[in-house]
């Protein structure tokens, strides 16, 4: 049984401007100790998916309108608030992009760490403090005894993120959700934090969902990747398979639109034309169709299912042998994935049908 199993999750936000279709039927599984990358641009639903898993969607606008979130077989969406509170931090922990806003500025680090530990464990203040010292030592903080008395503003961004990691791992959760944990940090500090995160989670065999827009970060850190676009998982594969043979036009586009440090100078970038869709409109067809160079007529009408790229007897959703799947009616071939554009002679992207109003 998978540690976490998200089934057909649908999340919508009711706003003054209309209903935002943030997550449109997302399914994925995660085994214990597995690392999964969730990649996509802002607004693709990657953060909302995980806030829904944690049942932390902003109320009353954000609503889970369908699906299941099974954690060790138990549907979290049916759990009451007390049950959820016992789970958060202890079983599933989360770290956020901006460590400044996720730490309380008027409490010392000690007060915050002791509070977290005592909320879930029957220990004395003294024991909790000793554990906090151990945790800060574990994340490489020098003079942890003294620094516990400091306030968050006395720490640099990288140090604050270390404190967050220490707090997240304090109760040895089975699952850690890291939402853009290094986006606010400089690249040399990012390297420190990623190294720490990867060492600690593999030592403790913690399962990790790493949410990021940076394909470079997931390439080195996760074993499996889900690419999201407009509230759908559009491609799912092992990290190696995904980079070796991307099978969705959006993934191909992402890889070709970022300059690589090791690219040959002068290699042109191939941008993805257009802009991400307005999620206030209910999706009709594939949401990537208007920007896609590979689109065919059916893309405008029907969202393709997430299906194996190669024929297979049994679809594996987790583990090192997870099946490479992509949601596309007209998958790029291996040559096209390398070229970054369709190579078929006389291929013209299907024009938008007039009768379909998007």
């Amino acid at each position: 049984m998978a540690l976490l199993s998200v089934r057909d999750l649908v999340v919508r936000f009711r706003t003054h401007d209309g209903t935002v279709h943030a997550v449109n039927g997302v399914s994925f599984d995660l085994d214990a100790g597995e690392t999964l990358g969730l990649v996509g641009e802002s607004g693709c639903g990657k953060s909302v998916t995980n806030l829904a898993v944690m049942r932390l969607l902003p109320a009353p606008a954000g609503r889970i309108e369908g699906g299941q979130v099974l954690f060790e077989g138990e549907d979290l969406l049916r759990l009451d608030e007390a049950g959820m509170r016992a789970l958060r931090g202890k079983e599933i922990a989360m770290i956020f992009q901006d460590p400044m806003t996720s730490l309380n500025p008027v409490l010392t680090i000690q007060e915050q760490m002791v509070e977290t530990i005592k909320a879930h464990k029957k220990v004395t203040n003294k024991q909790a403090r000793a554990q906090a010292v151990d945790l800060l030592t574990m994340v490489g903080m020098s003079e942890p005894d003294r620094r516990l008395r400091d306030y968050p503003h006395q720490f640099s961004g990288g140090m604050r993120q270390r404190v967050m990691i220490a707090m997240a791992l304090a109760l040895q959760p089975k699952l850690l959700i890291a939402d853009e944990p290094t986006t606010a940090l400089d690249v040399t500090i990012q390297a420190q934090v990623l190294e720490l995160l990867s060492r600690l989670t593999s030592e403790h065999k913690t399962a990790v969902i790493l949410i990021t827009h940076d394909l470079g970060v997931v390439a080195g850190l996760t074993r499996r990747i889900n690419v999201m676009y407009a509230g759908f998982v559009v491609e799912s594969a092992n990290t190696a398979d995904l980079f070796a043979g991307p099978a969705h036009p959006y993934t191909v586009g992402l890889l070709h639109s970022m300059p690589r440090l090791d690219a040959q100078p002068g290699e042109p970038l191939i941008p993805i034309e257009g802009t991400p869709p307005d999620l206030r409109h209910a999706p009709v067809g594939c949401p990537f169709a208007p920007r896609c160079a590979w689109r065919v007529e059916s893309c405008w009408r029907e969202m393709p299912p997430l299906e194996p790229v190669r024929e297979t007897a049994e679809v594996q959703t987790t583990g090192p042998l997870a099946t490479h799947r992509s949601a596309c009616w007209n998958r790029p071939t291996a040559e096209e994935a390398i070229a970054g554009r369709p190579l078929r002679v006389d291929f013209v992207p299907a024009p938008e049908p007039v009768e379909v109003s998007r």
């Binding site: 641009e41 802002s42 640099s156 990288g158 140090m159 400089d186 690249v187 040399t188 500090i189 990012q190 390297a191 420190q192 990623l194 190294e195 827009h213 940076d214 394909l215 470079g216 970060v217 390439a219 080195g220 990290t239 190696a240 980079f243 070796a244 586009g253 992402l254 890889l255 070709h256 639109s257 970022m258 300059p259 690589r260 440090l261 090791d262 690219a263 100078p265 002068g266 290699e267 042109p268 970038l269 191939i270 941008p271 993805i272 034309e273 802009t275 991400p276 920007r291 554009r341």
Partner: protein, 403 residues
């Protein structure tokens, strides 16, 4: 690229030089530029208690038509360099020469005249456009300020500019909130182009944009450079992007340039320990490459620019210094930029030791292509010790982006 290249001692009239001289002259030449921001204390009686040395002795030249990238981490002073050379600040010391004219101290109308030729593109396309002005109003404002054209002619120019940056000319009546992030940045680019500038300082122009939109703006900037012969100072923290767009790259650390070289050379043969660490920290979207590479994990944080370390500013975090048994020289003596190969300058006492280290090879994924720098240069310790047979990289024609 040598820093003594500008013979002029003071303000000169550009018309006085011959066309050949003008062609060889860098468009922008800065020498020993310092920009300190005062730290004051006290409410009623404000006392000067120190300085944030944002830029502390930077020399750099930018040739016409080239793109120079300025990289470094937050707080290294790269944005301050950009703003100071546009004279948005009054520099504390040093000299800024733009197209043969010393603009370090110019004020008033002569400063305005120079500014016509230098424009800026900002990071945040949300904050850098006035929400109460239409796109056309924003783009025509520079024309208005400098009294260029009017009426129908100005309206046509604005429509031209919108089309040039890939926007529908009819969108001029819309307000910034009606555009997406990428479209707003296009408006920012159109505003910068309005006065036909020679130099554009682009300060993190794509870092606020979504990944899929970034390439659109990079390609637009490259295309405009080809079309209008623009010169760019491209400031960014993302080395992959800087390397893609730049002909030459200057790496900054705590207010100083630590290495300057051609963008190909910086990746293939970095010679400053900080550059090597910075390159190693950049993730590459390829798991096959990532599993091979080992990162250099720098310890600690960047020190404060109000109280920088003595000697070499990087010595508190330097992996090479540790390897060499922590030589005192790094603490006592400030390294100057010295020429290690043609057009490749490094400010490190022990740059020769970087060449061929496992760290350098790890980063580049292959042994350095230049000839090894001999110990003769190290012993002499002076500029231009040994010249490796790598050609200096100047502005090169770039393949046009497709589509």
């Amino acid at each position: 690229m040598t820093f003594s290249a500008t013979p002029e001692a003071g303000p000169v009239n550009p018309q006085a030089t011959t066309p050949a001289e003008a062609a060889n002259r860098p468009l922008m030449q800065i020498d020993g530029l310092k920009m300190y921001f005062e730290i004051t204390s006290g409410i009623l009686m404000s006392r000067h208690v120190g300085d944030v040395r944002a830029v502390d002795g930077v020399s750099l030249s930018i040739r016409k038509g080239e793109t120079v990238g300025l990289v470094g981490e937050s707080g290294c002073g790269k944005s301050t360099v950009g703003r100071t050379i546009l004279r948005l600040y009054r520099p504390t010391a040093g000299r800024i020469v733009f197209d043969g004219q010393d603009i370090t101290r110019v004020e008033g109308s002569s400063l305005r005249a120079v500014r016509r030729r230098m424009q800026m593109i900002f990071q945040d396309p949300y904050a850098s456009l006035n929400p109460r002005m239409t796109a056309a109003g924003i783009i025509s404002e520079p024309l208005e300020i400098h009294g260029v054209s009017s009426g129908r002619e100005r309206r046509d120019r604005v429509r031209d500019l919108l089309a040039t940056v890939g926007l529908d000319p009819d969108y001029g009546d819309r307000y910034p909130h009606e555009f997406s992030g990428g479209q707003r940045q296009r408006i920012g680019v159109a505003r910068a182009l309005a006065l036909h500038p020679d130099l554009i300082v682009a300060d993190e122009p794509i870092s606020a944009l979504d990944v899929s939109i970034q390439a659109q703006i990079i390609n637009l900037l490259e295309h405009l450079q080809d079309e209008f012969g623009l010169t760019y100072l491209f400031i960014a923290h993302d080395l992959s992007v800087v390397r893609h767009i730049s002909d030459r790259i200057a790496v900054m650390y705590l207010g100083k340039i630590v290495e300057v070289t051609g963008s190909r050379d910086l990746y293939e043969r970095p010679l400053h320990p900080y550059s090597v660490a910075l390159l190693s920290a950049v993730p590459i979207p390829d798991p096959a490459v990532e599993t091979r590479r080992r990162r250099i994990i720098l310890t600690g944080d960047v020190p404060s620019p109000s109280n920088p370390p003595s000697g070499c500013r990087f010595h508190t975090r330097c992996w090479l210094r540790e390897r060499l048994g922590n030589p005192e020289r790094c603490v006592e003596e400030e390294p100057v930029l010295r020429e290690m190969a043609t057009g490749h300058q490094v400010a490190c006492h022990f740059a020769e030791e970087v060449d061929g280290t496992a760290e350098q090879v790890q980063v580049t994924g292959r042994p350095g292509r230049g000839a090894p720098v001999g110990s003769a240069g190290a012993a002499a310790g002076v500029a231009g010790g040994v010249v490796a047979p790598t050609a200096p990289e100047g502005p090169q024609p770039r393949p046009r982006p497709r589509g």
